[in-house]
């Protein structure tokens, strides 16, 4: 893979990091701005402020009003997005590479000189409120968001959309104040991937962002998690099951051991969960388990959607599989996983969008980019002996469970729940 990877990184004096991967075989480019304006920065009584601010920032900046901004990006062929997560708000897009440097200029206006127009405040609020309502109808997301809220506590368990009552109360002054404190270069990252020339990109970003200033932001106080089993009564056809237990985050030295173990559980059609819950027993259509990482904490999160009559059996089989995992994985399972991960890494290289997400994520979690070669080497270096030893020392559990559906479910006697932590 080496010959086709050219990764560049530069940290400006103001704390902003620019990271880029040149992919000269493409005609497109993608970019992502990660601004340290995530929902963990919101005051506790203003849940939804970061997302609202993100929405308002995009409603005009510099010389562009709302419509001018969108038309400019569309004229560059830019497929753009913005979103808010725990630590950051992200602004990004993918486009024909010819317009990349111009698009970065548009985003300098948006991020550094937003108009935050008063006459659009109510339209922006309505947009944010609609997003919250939409989540209410997405039952699987509801379960997983509640699981995350209970597992991580506050503010790390927040979801960006926030709370209706709070969003209703947010004033333009609150947005301006949040913008002033959080939209700044320290801990911000600009990631770019695709057809690009590094010297020109660096010059352009230097001209646009190197004189940006700001103060470090402090984190709000934390509220401890609520562990255990929780049920949300709801009249639905399926019961939606979310299960989480603690695990190492992405920046932990043991991360790839955990990745190997969870991969055996959930990657591919021969994975244990797919085979045991869906294929052999026909209990569900969707089942998955993934690693989730924050800066210093991580978890394994599992989702399964299953009809009411099958729900208890599904939970029992899931937990049984988690417990069996601690007895170890086989050499064949690991070999299959290695081929799958290697294929995925190679296939990822044709997509500037996929790469830009990884570049930004790596810099945010690690401070530098793990090249595909490095990742490949770590995956190839995994052995069943190492993973099994790690699993023995870190068996899955204790479990936090959130269910939504007609009837509550129970963990069988003797299963460690998180309340025992």
């Amino acid at each position: 893979m080496t010959d086709r990877q050219a990764i560049f990184q530069h940290r400006f004096d103001n704390g902003l990091t620019l990271v880029a991967q040149s992919m000269p075989w493409l005609e497109s480019a993608a970019f992502s701005f990660a601004i340290p304006a995530g929902c963990s920065r919101e005051p506790a009584r203003q849940r939804g402020l970061a997302n609202f601010c993100c929405e308002m920032v995009f409603r005009g900046g510099g010389e562009y009003d709302n419509r001018g901004l969108v038309e400019k990006l569309e004229s560059l062929g830019c497929d753009y997005f913005s979103s808010t997560s725990i630590y950051h708000s992200f602004f990004g897009g993918a486009m024909p590479a010819t317009g990349l440097l111009e698009a970065l200029g548009v985003y300098a206006d948006v991020l550094r000189r937003p108009q935050l127009p008063e006459d659009q405040l109510e339209d922006g609020r309505m947009t944010c409120l609609q997003e919250i309502h939409s989540l209410e109808d997405d039952l699987s997301s509801r379960v997983m968001l509640e699981l995350r809220r209970r597992f991580y506590g506050d503010p790390l368990g927040r979801h960006a959309e926030g709370v209706i009552e709070h969003v209703n109360q947010i004033a333009l002054a609150d947005i301006r104040s949040f913008y002033a404190s959080c939209y700044q270069p320290r801990d911000a990252v600009i990631a770019v991937a695709g057809k690009l020339e590094w010297p020109r990109l660096l010059d352009r970003v230097t001209a646009l962002f190197s004189d940006w200033t700001g103060r470090p932001v402090s984190d709000p106080p934390t509220v401890p998690p609520e562990h255990g089993v929780c049920h949300i009564p709801f009249s639905s056809h399926q019961t939606h099951i979310g299960i989480a237990w603690p695990c190492v985050p992405y920046n932990h030295p043991e991360y790839y051991l955990a990745r190997g173990a969870v991969g055996v559980l959930s990657d591919g059609m021969s994975s244990r969960l797919f085979r045991e819950v869906r294929d052999r027993r026909g209990l569900c259509y969707t089942v998955s388990a993934n690693l989730h990482s924050l800066r210093t904490e991580g978890s394994v999160v599992c989702y399964c959607g299953t009809t009411t009559d099958n729900a208890q059996q599904s939970l029992d089989v899931l937990v049984e599989q988690f417990q069996l995992l601690s007895r170890g994985i086989s050499e064949e399972e690991l070999q299959r996983l290695k081929v799958q991960i290697r294929s995925g890494l190679i296939m990822q290289q044709e997509s500037c969008r996929a790469r830009v997400g990884n570049l930004a994520g790596d810099v945010l979690h690690l401070g530098h980019v793990r090249t595909l070669d490095e990742v490949s080497e770590r995956i190839n270096g995994l052995t069943t002996a190492d993973i099994n030893e790690w699993l023995q020392a870190h068996p899955p559990g204790p479990f936090d469970v959130v269910t939504l559906g007609e009837q509550p479910l129970e963990l069988r006697d003797g299963i460690p729940t998180a309340s025992a932590r």
């Binding site: 075989w25 493409l26 005609e27 497109s28 709302n66 038309e71 569309e74 062929g77 830019c78 497929d79 993918a94 486009m95 024909p96 109510e122 339209d123 922006g124 609020r125 309505m126 947009t127 944010c128 409120l129 609609q130 997003e131 309502h133 939409s134 109808d137 997405d138 039952l139 709801f234 009249s235 056809h237 399926q238 990657d267 591919g268 059609m269 021969s270 994975s271 085979r275 869906r278 294929d279 027993r281 026909g282 209990l283 569900c284 259509y285 969707t286 959607g305 299953t306 009809t307 299959r336 081929v339 799958q340 290697r342 294929s343 995925g344 190679i346 296939m347 290289q349 044709e350 500037c352």
Partner: protein, 398 residues
């Protein structure tokens, strides 16, 4: 980039867009078999069969199939629609032959009773999953109401009842009628060894026996009207509308951006848009929105006024922006090997001659204002058939 084609004596078509610079190859078996080919009593059989294909062949168990797909590191899946079933996988170049051996073997499934009954439960779970997700089966209901008794109105998934009543025997009959080599194509894109692909196909599929396959194209008589699906515990109100559209290529995408400014930018709706769907002998324009229930009537009237305005035509600036957007999207998609495979296969499904992304982009560039406005007049985007889904039952066409 080179386009290659070949046909076996039994009628199986092989098409490939070979790109020696690609990292991997994407392969698909496209079958002209979908819900429009089903009689009502076997509703859902195309989709159920798609699942059963992965449950093994006379020489492979379901577990072996899954193991082999993962051993090849493949990113594989399948999809069923009104007119087609597609099995696809992407693998590194060294696994091409192994994947083709597996994929082609899967096209002659065992349909074992025990697997059939277990997988039936998975399908019913899938139906229930969609029943819980917005728009709560509304799409299926709207298609049924719009098309009346026409086969295009049948649900791809089928119903709990129709799937529950299916037997391996009825599935075998359906399979024999649709999975004839002349009704199928092996499609590839990316780093493909075409000579080997043809050799492998001859060896593995040459003995498949062809039969005559028919797809009657009954005339569609759209049924207009307004109906309501009451979902008391839904938070938002969802509205879907269908009207006739071109049965061939869509050149009329102007509505999207007006809907964006009036309904989304203003925060009146959570989501809104318009899309086109083309079938053999029928085309559709589907417009939709979802919003807080109290805003639903206002939004419905707004949407219909935007659609009515489209009849008067679009401006040169709107057309130019739309073209730039479409051409950029074509470029982005052209860099993705799997997207190329789907494009080549899609063109085969529609009986179109092969066009490169550059040629397709150029076609869009050449569209004139007069052409777009003529299409807008020919296919007025009206509220031909509307379905309102959610807690409110009092919406009216306005």
């Amino acid at each position: 980039m080179e386009f290659r084609q070949h046909q076996l004596a039994n009628g199986l078509t092989i098409l490939a867009e070979c790109n020696p610079d690609a990292y991997f190859g994407a392969y698909g078996i496209f079958v002209r078999a979908g819900s429009r080919d089903e009689q009502a009593e076997i509703g859902g059989v195309s989709h159920f069969l798609e699942h059963m294909v992965f449950k093994g062949t006379p020489t492979r168990s379901a577990e072996q199939v899954n193991l082999e797909l993962d051993e090849l590191g493949s990113s594989s899946n399948a999809r069923t629609g009104e007119e087609s079933t597609i099995y696809h996988a992407a693998v590194l170049p060294e696994f091409q032959t192994a994947l083709i051996e597996l994929l082609t073997d899967l096209m002659r499934p065992a349909l074992r009773l025990e697997d059939f009954e277990t997988e039936k439960k998975v399908i019913i779970e899938e139906i229930m999953m969609y029943q819980d997700q917005p728009p709560y089966g509304g799409h299926e209901q709207l298609m049924l109401e719009y098309f009346g008794g026409h086969p295009l109105g049948q649900s791809v998934l089928g119903t709990v009842e129709s799937v529950g009543n299916l037997t391996p025997e009825s599935m075998r009959n359906y399979f024999a009628q649709r999975y004839s080599p002349g009704n199928m194509a092996l499609i590839a894109a990316g780093k493909v060894d075409f000579e080997r692909l043809v050799e492998d196909a001859e060896r593995l599929c040459g003995a498949w026996t062809p039969c005559t396959v028919q797809r009657p194209v009954a005339q569609v008589t759209p049924r207009s009207g307004f109906s309501t699906l009451h979902k008391p515990n839904s938070t938002l109100q969802y509205v879907l509308q269908l009207s006739p559209g071109p049965a061939t290529e869509d050149e009329d995408r102007d509505g999207g951006s007006r809907i964006y400014w009036k309904m989304l930018d203003s925060g009146l709706a959570e989501s809104a848009g318009i899309g086109s769907y083309e079938y053999l002998g029928a085309g559709l324009a589907m417009s939709y929105f979802c919003c807080e229930p109290k805003l639903a009537q206002e939004n419905l009237e707004l949407l219909n006024s935007i659609l009515a305005e489209a009849l008067a035509g679009v401006t040169a600036k709107e057309l130019e922006l739309a073209k730039q957007k479409i051409v950029a999207q074509i470029l982005l998609a052209s860099e993705r090997t799997e997207a190329r495979m789907f494009s080549v296969g899609g063109q085969w499904l529609n009986n179109q001659s092969f066009k490169t992304p550059a040629e397709i982009a150029n076609q869009y560039r050449c569209v004139t204002l007069d052409q777009v406005n003529a299409v807008a007049k020919k296919y007025p985007l009206g509220n031909c058939r509307t379905l309102s889904i959610g807690p409110r039952t009092d919406l009216s066409p306005g």
